[in-house]
C-alpha cells in the first residue's frame, strides 16, 4: 500500500511538471491552432536561468540549510522573465510572419526554433550538465515508508497554484476574455475591437511564464539542467494537453497528472521502458471514445 502511495506521489511530481508545460501548449494551441514544438525549450531555458541565478547567489553568500525563500523567488521570477522574453522574440520572428501561412508552416518553424535553442545551449554549456546548488534541504519527510522531498511538495503545490491563477486569469480578467474571444474566432474578435496581435503575444507570454517557472522548479528538483532536458517533457506535455482536451485549461492539468500517474504505475507493473507505450495507448483509447479529450469542448469544426 505504502509503495503505491509513493508511486502516486512520484507520479504527481512528474505529472505536475507535465501539467504546467501543457498549460502553455493548450493556451497557444487554443489561440493559434498551432503546435508550438519549441515550448519545451522555454522550459529548458527557465531551468538554465534558475541555475545561473542560484549559482550567482551562491557565489556571494552561502545558501545554508534553511530555505532561502527570497533567492528561490528571484530565481523563479527571472526564469519566467527569460522565458517570456524569448517567447516574445520567438513569436515575432518565427511565428507572426506565418499567421496566415498554411497550417503546417508554423509547425516546422517551431521545430526549427527548438533545434536552434537546444543546440545553442549545448554549445554555451559545452555539453556539460549544470548542477544546481542546494537550495532546498534534501532531507525528506517520512510517513512510514513513504518519503517526500520538500521540493516535491513545493512543485506539486505550485502546479496547482498555477492552474488556479491561470484559470482566474483566463476566466475573470479582460485580457483573459480577449484570449478566449480570439481563440473562438479571430476575425470576429478583431471586429469587436480586440487587439489580436497583442492578445496572441499575451498568450505566448503567459504560456512562457509558466514554462519558465516550471523549468526553475524542476531544475531544483532534479538538480541538473541540460540542453536536451526540455524535449521529452515537451512531447509529454503535448500528449497531456491532447489527452485532457486541447484548448482546455483544467483539461491540460488533468491530462498532465493522468499521464504522470500512469507512467508511475506502468513503471511498477511493466518496467520503465514501457511507460511511453502505456501513455500512448491510453491516449488512443481516450481519443477513440472521446475524440475531443477528457475535458475538451466538443467541436463540430475540424481541429
Amino acid at each position: 500500500m505504502q509503495e503505491y502511495i509513493q508511486l502516486l506521489i512520484d507520479g504527481l511530481t512528474i505529472g505536475g511538471v507535465y501539467a504546467v508545460i501543457a498549460l502553455g501548449y493548450t493556451l497557444v494551441y487554443g489561440v493559434l491552432r498551432m503546435i508550438n514544438f519549441a515550448h519545451g525549450e522555454l522550459f529548458m531555458m527557465g531551468a538554465f536561468t534558475g541555475y545561473y541565478t542560484l549559482n550567482g547567489f551562491q557565489q556571494h553568500s552561502s545558501l545554508n540549510d534553511t530555505i532561502p525563500v527570497f533567492t528561490i523567488a528571484v530565481a523563479i521570477v527571472l526564469g519566467m522573465l527569460v522565458a517570456v522574453a524569448l517567447a516574445v522574440v520567438m513569436e515575432r520572428i518565427a511565428y507572426r510572419p506565418l499567421r496566415h501561412a498554411p497550417r503546417l508552416a508554423p509547425l516546422i518553424s517551431a521545430i526549427g526554433v527548438s533545434i536552434f535553442l537546444r543546440n545553442i545551449m549545448l554549445r554555451v554549456t559545452n555539453a556539460q550538465g549544470k548542477v544546481y546548488p542546494r537550495v532546498f534541504p534534501r532531507t525528506v519527510l517520512e510517513f512510514g515508508e513513504v518519503r517526500v522531498l520538500y521540493v516535491q511538495i513545493f512543485l506539486i503545490v505550485l502546479s496547482f497554484l498555477f492552474l488556479a491563477l491561470l484559470y482566474l486569469f483566463i476566466e475573470r480578467t479582460k485580457i483573459g476574455m480577449a484570449i478566449r474571444a480570439v481563440a473562438e474566432d479571430r476575425t470576429t474578435a478583431a471586429l469587436m475591437g480586440v487587439n489580436v496581435d497583442r492578445t496572441i503575444v499575451l498568450t505566448f507570454v503567459s504560456g512562457a511564464a509558466l514554462a519558465g517557472a516550471a523549468g526553475v522548479v524542476y531544475g531544483m528538483y532534479v538538480t541538473t539542467a541540460t540542453s536536451g532536458m526540455g524535449f521529452i517533457p515537451g512531447i509529454k506535455a503535448f500528449t497531456a494537453a491532447v489527452l485532457g482536451g486541447i484548448g482546455s485549461v483544467p483539461g491540460a492539468m488533468l491530462g498532465g497528472y493522468f499521464l504522470g500517474i500512469s507512467e508511475s504505475l506502468s513503471t511498477k507493473w511493466l518496467g520503465a521502458q514501457y511507460k511511453d507505450v502505456v501513455a500512448f495507448v491510453l491516449l488512443v483509447g481516450v481519443l477513440i471514445f472521446r475524440p475531443w479529450g477528457l475535458l475538451g469542448k466538443r467541436e463540430d469544426k475540424r481541429a
Binding site: Y29, R33, I35, I93, A94, P97, L98, H100, A101, P102, L104, A105, P106, L107, I108, S109, I111, G112, V113, S114, I115, F116, L117, R118, N119, I120, R123, T187, A190, I235, F238, T239, V242, I246, G271, Q273, Y274, D276, V277, A279, F280, V281, L283, V284, L287, I288, P291, R302, A303
Partner: protein, 426 residues
Amino acid sequence: MSTLREALAQWSPSRLWQRAEARLGRTSAGAAALRHGQYVVLPLAAIAAGLAAEHMTIRWAFAMIIAASYLMLRSSTNLFGIVVLGAMLAYLPEHMDLFERGILFDVALYAMLGIGLNIVVGYAGLLDLGYVAFFAVGAYLFALLSAPEVGGGFDVGTSFWLVLPMAMVVAALVGVLLGIPVLRLRGDYLAIVTLGFGEIIGIMLNNEGATGLIGKHVNSTHGLTNGSVGVFSIPKPYFFDIKLATPHEMYYVVLVGCLLAAFAAERIRVSRVGRAWEAIREDEDVAAAMGVNTTQYKLLAFAIGASIGGLGGAIFAAKQSAVFPSDFNLDVSVNVLALVIIGGMGNVRGVVLGSLLLIGLPDVLRDFSIDLGFVSLDNLGADYRLVIFGAALVAVMVLRPEGLLPSRRRAAEFEQARVIEAERAT
C-alpha cells in the same frame, strides 16, 4: 518583413526567369531555345560552379546549385530535358568522393520517404508524425531475414530483391493496422497519436520483453529483434554479379525506387483516388456527403505511404548493413515531414528540393568554417551545424511559408487566403 519578402520575390530566380522568358519568348525560335536550353545550360552552369568551387569552399557551391536547381524546377518539362538530365543523373556520382556519395544516397533516400509521406500529408491531408514506424518495419524485415545468427538475424537467405516487395506489403499492412483505430481522429489529434505509434515501434524494437512475446530468438537472449544490440552483419545485396557494397551502387537502387515512387505518386494523384483524397483534404464532411468512402480512402493513403516507407527501410538496412532501434526515432519522422513541408506540400518536385536542403545541408555543413583573416572559426561547422540548421528551417518557412516549390494549386490557395485575410484586416 513583408517588404523584404517582396523585394526578394522580385529578384527571385523564378521571377527573373519569367521576365527573361517573357522578353525572349516573343519569337518562336527564342522560345524553343529557352525551352530546351534550360536543361543544358543550367546544369552545365551548376557543374561549372561546382568545378570552380575547388578553390572556394564546397558549401558556397552548394548554395549556388540550390539556386540553379530551384530555377530549373520552376519550369515545365519536356522529354528532351528528361533524357539529358537522366543521363547526367546516372553519370555524376562517378565524380564524387565517398562522403558526397553518402550524402547523395541519403538525399535520394529521404526524397523517396518524402514522396511516400507526401501521399499521406500532402495529398490526403493527414498529419502523420510517426512515419518512422514504416521505415523501421522495412529495415528490420530485411535485416532479420538476411543477417546471420551471430548478427542477430535468422539468415533465411531471402534475396534482397524479393524482400523489397515484401517490405512494401508488410509496411502497408502495418499502416492499415495502425490506421484503423486512429483514422476517425482529425488534424492535430492524429499527429500526436501517430507520433505515439512511431515511439512505440522504437520501444518494441529495443525490448526483448515485448518482442519476446512474439517468439524467443533461437540463438540469442535478446528476443526477436535482438534488442538494443541491433541486427548487424547484414550481407550486401547483389545485382546479378555486381555487389552493391557502397553508397554509390545503392544510390542507383534508391534512385530507381525514387523515380518509380514519384511516377506512381503522380499517376495516383491525377486518378480517381487522387481526386477523392483532394476532396477529403479540402473538406472531409463534404467529401463524405458526396459519397466518398472517407475511411477507405484514408486507409489507402496510409497504406501506400507506408509501403514506400517500408521500401526505403529495406534499402536503408542493405546500405547500412546494421540497424539499431535508436536509428528509428522521432527525428526521422520530423525530418521527413519537414522536408515535405519545406519543399512545398503536395508535390514531388518540392520534396526532392526539401530533401536536398534538409538532409544534405547538415552534413555539408560539417566542413563549414570561416576564416576572415582577423577572425577564424575552425570548427564552426562541426560544432554549430545543427544551430545553423535550426535557424535555416525558420528562415525558409518565414520567407516562403508555402514551401520552396508549392504545387500550383497550393500556391493559388495560399495566395487567395492571403488576399482574403488582407481584405479582412483592412
